[in-house]
Point group: C2
Chain length 309, copies 2
Amino acid sequence: MRSDISKRINVKEVGPRDGLQNEKIILPSDEKIQWINALSNTGLSYIEITSFVHPDWIPPLSDAQDVAAGIERHPEVTYAALVPNQRGLERALMAGIDEASIFMSASESHNRKNINKTIEETFPVLQEVVSTAKSEGKTVRAYLSTVFGCPYEGPVALEKVLNICDRLFTMGVDELSLGDTIGIANPLQVDEVLTKLLPRFKDGKIALHFHNTRGMALANVWSALQHGVTTFDASLGGLGGCPYAKGASGNLATDDLVFMLEEMGLDTGIDENKLRTAADFIEERLGKPLPSHQRQLQKLNQGGARFAK
Amino acid sequence: MRSDISKRINVKEVGPRDGLQNEKIILPSDEKIQWINALSNTGLSYIEITSFVHPDWIPPLSDAQDVAAGIERHPEVTYAALVPNQRGLERALMAGIDEASIFMSASESHNRKNINKTIEETFPVLQEVVSTAKSEGKTVRAYLSTVFGCPYEGPVALEKVLNICDRLFTMGVDELSLGDTIGIANPLQVDEVLTKLLPRFKDGKIALHFHNTRGMALANVWSALQHGVTTFDASLGGLGGCPYAKGASGNLATDDLVFMLEEMGLDTGIDENKLRTAADFIEERLGKPLPSHQRQLQKLNQGGARFAK
């Protein structure tokens, strides 16, 4: 094994939030709960279960409290939820989430479209959330969207990204997930961004959140792995995208990511058979095939995706 | 730009052969000819136009002579064709091809299934082709299949691969294309194989032929680019696969590959608009959507795959 690549990789499942929020079908709460319970059985150490944004904003996730209250809690799994502001955090805390995820964009236009504020106006709102969450003993993750490109502005200056990262870590954020919101990042760009970004935040945890819109997500993962990045977000079966970014279908699929990592001899702690069970479940409930390569292969081959070893 | 990555990349289009040979629809020769003419206009420097295997083996390509005779020849494009043996080569030479492509597998079972010979029995057949082609002033490319894994045998020993490469180069082959026939290669494996293989063949040209069956093709390209590899095979729109390998749908798509390379600032010499025109043509003739990400995006966005620059 190459010494620059970490052996243990954390895959963070965002499907119940980032996936379901973009589905037209609104699943009943008990089916979401069953799905999250199935995900908890796979060996995943982190599941983002829902979003505590105002119920009018994202109707498919308006049952956040019921879902958080209904799931089984495995002690080795962190159950996180998205919160946009103090009100959302209060609901999330009442629902007993382990970690709060806040979010903003690296580009003004996307930030304004997504959360109706300028970047500068966003910081105090997030600071309040972070301070409260920390005082309640919770960890906080921050999503930074459009790091590798914005659907409205095009390329985003790295200096802008670095400044926002600075401010988020100063705010007390525990982990920062850099988002390729529209799936435009290429592996050379990931290499260049991480070459400048990682040395600046040696003490801060950096995760990467890729979309596979143009087929480059796993190439970007390979690029990031070579920089020692150990945490990647993904959505089972490739469910979901970003509702405000044109053409931004396609979260990186958890099953495709785990397959590649395990094939490379890295350790995700995830049982691929159980992952398949969880994907079968959600696919059946949604009544449509999920787009990941693993799902497509399973349909062709009845499951023969890997050599017997 | 990183100094380890070559700026100029050769993309070799194999769609008219590797793509069409796996289609159920048999296109009329004049439509194939029109498609190849459209490909010749894109800036591609290499097109594998057909296969001179026995017409009974691959009925969709039984019109090889007509296609080779009918296309316009651009002086800056190399028009190649697959040939299995001396008889095929003779037909290809009569049809005026520029380069002959021979093929064999790195694993016994796949070699036998694909060409009905043991690996050892295959060498003299190929030697005859190479010697004749060279004496006629033609260049020869060799495809080596199942380098990264065999659908029947699983992992393939690198020592076996290296020995076959040795023999093919000794035979006089000009370029060797290493095939991930079933799309099982991962980028760490590509890194490991190339680390051992490339220093051994410093004077021989090595190309890579990836399939995107499990979504890893572009990750593998990024891995190979970091080793200084400059030549990649691809099929426009992701057309085709390998008819003898279960689940091996999905050649790496030329349009997805070119998009990534150009996004990284590398130079393919290919005009993406003209590539799109050629893809529109073949998609319409086949009457079905092609699976590449670029094709899917075009349908969603009516063409807005890249930022205005």
